[in-house]
């Protein structure tokens, strides 16, 4: 079982590494969006510090939506996805493997660079740590929930925009608890409660999202 999971993850990682240029686009998008806000709002540090959690989180959300399109599309186009549906392995496991690899190449870089962006917004040490941690818990949940939308819209016209329309409302709790944790820490109230809830959402989506995405993939491949 684990071997199958590892095979899928390794396969997708190798594929991603052989297309390194694609990897950077999501990261650049994230960095650029975050850097645009001071230009639009003004360099007032106290304002920036106040909006930082929301800005970073919304940017992470949009970046992960942008990345979703690539989760299944290539495999769908060349027929390897179809073959995955016909393997004797549980499809949800294969889907989980694909999501894991997807998060490693698109989500994790965002998490790692986020403290740097937080510095631009004048966030302090502890807040930066909570920001990092909240993204570490939140972005995998975004990938998992997003996978359902990506699977549902596979092969449809205008799939990219449609996927955002379907998935964004479902990700609101992640956004609320994610940015809430940073905000609560910054205002000295402590963000642990938020982080626990974020963790609970992650666990729940870890269990349910692969199943839903697997069902959706079967429907989309008919």
């Amino acid at each position: 079982m684990f071997e199958i999971f590892r095979t899928v993850v390794m396969r997708d990682l190798v594929l991603a590494l052989r297309r390194r240029a694609d990897l950077m686009t999501v990261l650049f998008f994230f960095v650029i969006v975050v850097s645009l806000f001071p230009l639009a709002i003004g360099p007032e540090m106290s304002t920036l510090r106040m909006i930082a959690p929301g800005v970073v989180w919304v940017a992470a959300l949009l970046a992960s939506m942008l990345a979703l399109e690539r989760l299944f599309a290539a495999d769908y186009a060349d027929g390897t996805l179809e073959q995955m549906l016909l393997t004797p392995q549980p499809l949800a496991l294969l889907v989980l493997g694909k999501i894991a690899a997807h998060w490693l190449v698109t989500g994790l870089p965002l998490v790692l660079i986020s403290p740097l962006l937080g510095l631009q917004y004048g966030l302090s040490g502890e807040t930066l740590l909570v920001l990092l941690f909240s993204l570490l818990l939140g972005t995998p949940a975004l990938s998992l929930i997003g996978a359902i939308g990506a699977a549902l819209t596979l092969g449809l016209r205008g799939g990219g925009v449609l996927v955002s329309l379907l998935v964004l409302p479902l990700t609101i709790p992640v956004l609320i608890f994610g940015s809430g944790s940073v905000e609560a820490t910054a205002s000295g109230m402590g963000g642990e409660g938020h982080l626990y809830l974020l963790g609970a959402i992650l666990v729940m989506s870890l269990v349910l999202a692969p199943l839903a995405a697997a069902t959706a993939l079967r429907i989309s491949n008919e």
């Binding site: 359902i148 549902l152 819209t153 205008g158 329309l165 409302p169 809430g180 809830l197 959402i201």
Partner: protein
Amino acid sequence: MSSRLVNWFKFSSPSTFYPLAGKIGFWSMVVTVVLLAVGLYMSFFVAPTDYKQGEGYRIIYVHVPAAWMSMFLYVLMAGWAALGLVFNTRLSAMMASALAPTGASMAFIALWTGAFWGKPMWGAWWVWDARLTSELILLFLYLGFIALQSAIDDPRRADRACAVLAIVGVVNVPIIYYSVIWWNTLHQGATIQIRGESSMDPLMLTTLLIMTLAFWAYCIAVAMARVRSIILERERETTWVGEMVKEGRA
């Protein structure tokens, strides 16, 4: 018992459900007209003026039923969609897609009247109140469902894909709702709680009840009308539709 079971299966086929839906739709419409006439009259002229909110409060007779219906219809829609996905029955999926636009319009009415209410009460058209925000998100969920339905050409794939979306949505709705409430309580000051549990006049309650029933009847009538046209569209190749068109009954 067994004969009742047979009856249920009989009506799960579109050809037998079509005339039944027509009857249900017609009578629901009649009920709607009657209840709405009574309900609106009572809302405007009979129900007493609220001592805190004055005359402006009267919009709740539209706002509250619409909000209730929008939430209830989403659950109902997901239920029908799930039935269709599990048992592969055509009619359940048609019911789900017939309910979606009605639910969306209910959510829209709730938001619209909420804004009308908010202006005199809060002095702003829009306030990030927990309930209004959840209603807005619910509208987004409906729009997602409708968008997905119309993006897929093959009706069977559309039904099944939308069913998955509706089920995922229904699992998410409570989480979204509580997260929004939590978010709202943490950002106190942005909103003014005025929908406290002030004791309601019995006459107000009766009016609200009648209006709610009127909305129920309306939603049933509209859903039936829509499901009838969906049946006709999807079954246009079948002989029973052909015969009906020939006889001029469609």
